[in-house]
């Protein structure tokens, strides 16, 4: 059971070289609730997730997570927020179980507990038979599930996911949706971008439809 953190986004925009990447966004999200980001390609879903993760500074506005500004350099912020935005870096020479074990150990688990937790997570995602494989030996759908596992292996209060349903078949989409729902019910605040209507309707307490940023004439 985690204690989720609320998120406040006020007047956030992102632009680069005068070109807008994210139109103004405002929202407030209670702890232990979930928000779906929808919108066409290029609407700024990934950009907004990167802003929330502290990876991209907003051009205007501010973001508070758990009452504190986003700051990737702050260990407390890093402890609070987990994110899957694009492919996370994977080590070619570590097996799936070793990856997850290493991540859990880095967050303070003993090696034995971390290994057990890693096996459990792989099992939850129906990857238990692949624990001794290397990342390059996975199919694209298995890679997506493993990337989720890498993100979920660590503790967090806020979970940011960019199209977690990518490349997954129907069964696995349901599995992931159910897993995220459990996390939310356990107290995690979830923000996810998705193009899947079922996932949005099942998981999201609210939906934010992003409109495409308009370049100045």
């Amino acid at each position: 059971m985690t204690t989720g953190s609320g998120i406040v986004v006020e007047g956030v925009t992102v632009s680069r070289g005068g070109l807008p990447l994210l139109a103004p966004v405002d929202f407030a999200l209670e702890p232990a609730s979930s928000l779906a980001l929808s919108g066409h390609n290029g609407a700024g879903k990934t950009t907004l997730l990167r802003v929330l993760a502290g990876l991209t500074p907003p051009t205007t506005g501010r973001v508070l997570i758990g009452g504190a500004p986003t700051n990737e350099r702050d260990p407390r912020f890093r402890a609070r927020v987990a994110a899957l935005i694009g492919l996370p870096p994977l080590a070619r020479n570590l097996t799936l179980t070793e990856h997850l074990t290493l991540i859990r150990v880095s967050w303070g688990a003993t090696t034995r507990d971390a290994a057990a937790g890693a096996r459990q997570l792989l099992s939850d995602l129906r990857l238990e038979n692949l624990g001794s494989r290397f990342p390059h030996e996975l199919s694209s759908g298995q890679t997506q599930l493993f990337c989720l596992a890498v993100t979920l292996a660590r503790p967090f209060e806020v979970l940011l996911l960019d199209e977690p349903e990518q490349r997954l078949d129907g069964d696995r989409r349901e599995l992931v949706t159910a897993m995220l729902l459990t996390l939310k019910n356990d107290g995690t605040t979830v923000v996810f971008a998705s193009h899947n209507a079922t996932m949005i309707s099942t998981l999201a307490d609210a939906t934010l439809a992003l409109r495409e940023p308009v370049a100045p004439a």
């Binding site: 070289g17 005068g18 990737e72 350099r73 260990p75 870096p89 020479n93 003993t110 090696t111």
Partner: protein
């Protein structure tokens, strides 16, 4: 607590990160011992013999030698600052960057180990030559032994401070890093105008310890020691302040460089450092004009969008023209070395303006995108490198003339400028590394196939050096027109090869 976690983490996986077995480690050790025995010891011995020559010793003992130390120390500090943006001292591989430096441990703990390792490597690189010089001066040169030892100690402290400067630069933004480098360069120049400012310049501290014939003063050692203590005290805060996005970006880049370097793809490895466009997003790159002008303008605007790269390329071409002109002017000297270096500099500098050639080569190997044939594309993309090579190399030639060199062979310099354009095209058209070259070549020192690959990868560099040197030799032996013919003949051969490669797709 955090140290326990890091220790557990290391036991859990960091040691196996690169998949190295005990045999691999033993082989690395074996290679290290062989390299030290075959290359390291003879190199140190040769350097010692060279430095112990009376003429060299006299130069080292000359009071003016400390000026050279001042400049070298400044260069070291500038390199430390610039390196921070390319490869900081506190760096892990991408996975560990996320798993270790991305967790809730303050980075003062999680990145302390890689930082200290980098700092030790840097200190070793700086202290070894300092010790060698001090040894030569102290033992062979009859210098003051205490003075020599103090210089070695001061070098170690200076290297430690430079390591912290490297870390400081790693956590700075690009603009602030440039500002820091500019400030250091400015501070270095100030004592030329106001000599009383010398004690406040870091480079002067180590220069003040140089064991020449002047009496030893202790103040530089005290100052550099204080500076080092202050710098080390700042390390934890600097480590905490490292940006995770930049850490991951550097980690990815260096992993790619390592992979590409391992398989011998040096062009790909260098490509990792190619700056990305940052300005001029709204500049008009495509004009309504004949295709040659269209491609010239598009390529030119593309290079302008990476201003630092453009300036670096232009300056390097300028230097190439300057150096080549000086070399062709230097009668009775080993003058051939200068045109060889000039051709090499020209080849390196022109890389900035040759992205179009790479694009044409890529287009030749894929489905047709443009309406033009491969040869037409090459011709269009040749406009920018051609104009830039002739212009900037010519300006370098003019500068050499203004500096006092005589211009007896302007045709040779122009021919060399045209030649490096063709060499760039040849380089872009080069096929992938043939698999046959990766066949093991067993020798007592291990597999020498790496050397074969190295020669294959560095062929353009070797050709540039060879043609530059040959041009100089032919100017001396048969006159400038013959040298022009030699350069153009070499260029024609390369051009034919490159066009045939591109036509083959």
């Amino acid at each position: 607590m955090s140290s326990d976690r890091l220790r557990t983490l290391r036991r859990a996986g960091i040691g196996h990160q690169d998949g190295r077995t005990l045999q691999d480690s033993a082989y690395v050790l074996y290679m290290g011992v062989l390299l030290a025995a075959i290359v390291g010891i003879p190199a140190v011995r040769a350097a010692t013999v060279l430095l112990a020559q009376p003429a060299v010793l006299a130069t080292l003992r000359d009071p003016a030698a400390s000026d050279a130390v001042y400049l070298v120390a400044t260069a070291i500090l500038l390199v430390a600052i610039l390196m921070g943006g390319v490869r900081g001292p506190a760096l892990l591989n991408p996975f560990l960057t996320v798993a270790v430096a991305g967790n809730d441990l303050p980075r003062r703990y999680s990145l302390r180990r890689p930082f200290h390792l980098s700092q030790m490597v840097m200190a070793a690189i700086l202290v070894v030559p300092a010790t060698l010089l001090a040894f030569i001066l102290g033992v062979t040169g009859g210098g003051n032994l205490v003075h020599c030892l103090v210089f070695v100690l001061g070098s170690a402290l200076f290297a430690t401070s430079a390591g912290v400067l490297w870390l400081w630069s790693q956590q700075l933004r690009k603009s602030r890093r440039a500002l820091l480098a500019g400030a250091l360069a400015a501070v270095t120049v100030i004592p030329l105008l106001f000599p009383r400012a010398l004690p406040f310049v870091p480079s002067a501290w180590i220069a003040g310890l140089w064991p020449d014939e002047s009496p030893m003063s202790w103040w530089p050692l005290v100052v550099v020691a204080f500076a080092t203590v202050a710098a080390l005290a700042a390390v934890p805060r600097l480590l905490d302040n490292l940006d995770g996005v930049e850490l991951l970006s550097q980690a990815h880049r260096w992993q790619s460089v390592g992979t590409l370097g391992y398989v011998g793809d040096f062009a790909g490895a260098f490509g990792q450092f190619r700056a990305k466009p940052s300005v001029g997003r709204r500049w008009r790159a495509v004009l309504a004009a004949p295709p040659l002008v269209q491609f010239f303008v598009a390529d030119l605007v593309g290079t302008f969008r990476v201003p630092v790269r453009f300036i670096t390329g232009a300056m390097t071409l300028l230097l190439a023209g300057f150096v080549s002109t000086l070399g062709l002017d230097a009668a009775g000297h080993p003058g051939w070395m200068l045109p060889a270096c000039g051709a090499l500099l020209g080849y390196l500098g022109l890389g900035v303006f040759s992205d179009g050639f790479r694009h044409a080569a890529d287009s030749a190997h894929g489905p047709s995108v443009y309406r033009y044939s491969n040869r037409q594309l090459v011709a269009f993309h040749a406009a920018l490198p051609g104009v830039c090579a002739v212009t900037f190399v010519g300006l370098g030639e003019l500068l050499a003339y203004l500096a006092g060199a005589s211009i007896d062979s302007p045709g040779v310099i122009t021919a060399l400028a045209v030649f490096i354009v063709v060499l760039r095209l040849y380089d872009a058209a080069k096929p992938d590394l043939p698999v046959a070259l990766m066949t093991p070549v067993p020798t007592p020192a291990g597999d020498a196939s790496g050397l074969v690959i190295l020669f294959w990868q560095a062929d353009s560099v070797l050709v540039a050096l060879g043609v530059g040197a040959a041009a100089s030799a032919v100017v001396g032996a048969a006159g400038p027109p013959a040298a022009v013919l030699v350069v153009l003949a070499a260029g024609s051969a390369l051009l034919l090869y490159a066009l045939r490669r591109l036509s083959a797709g």
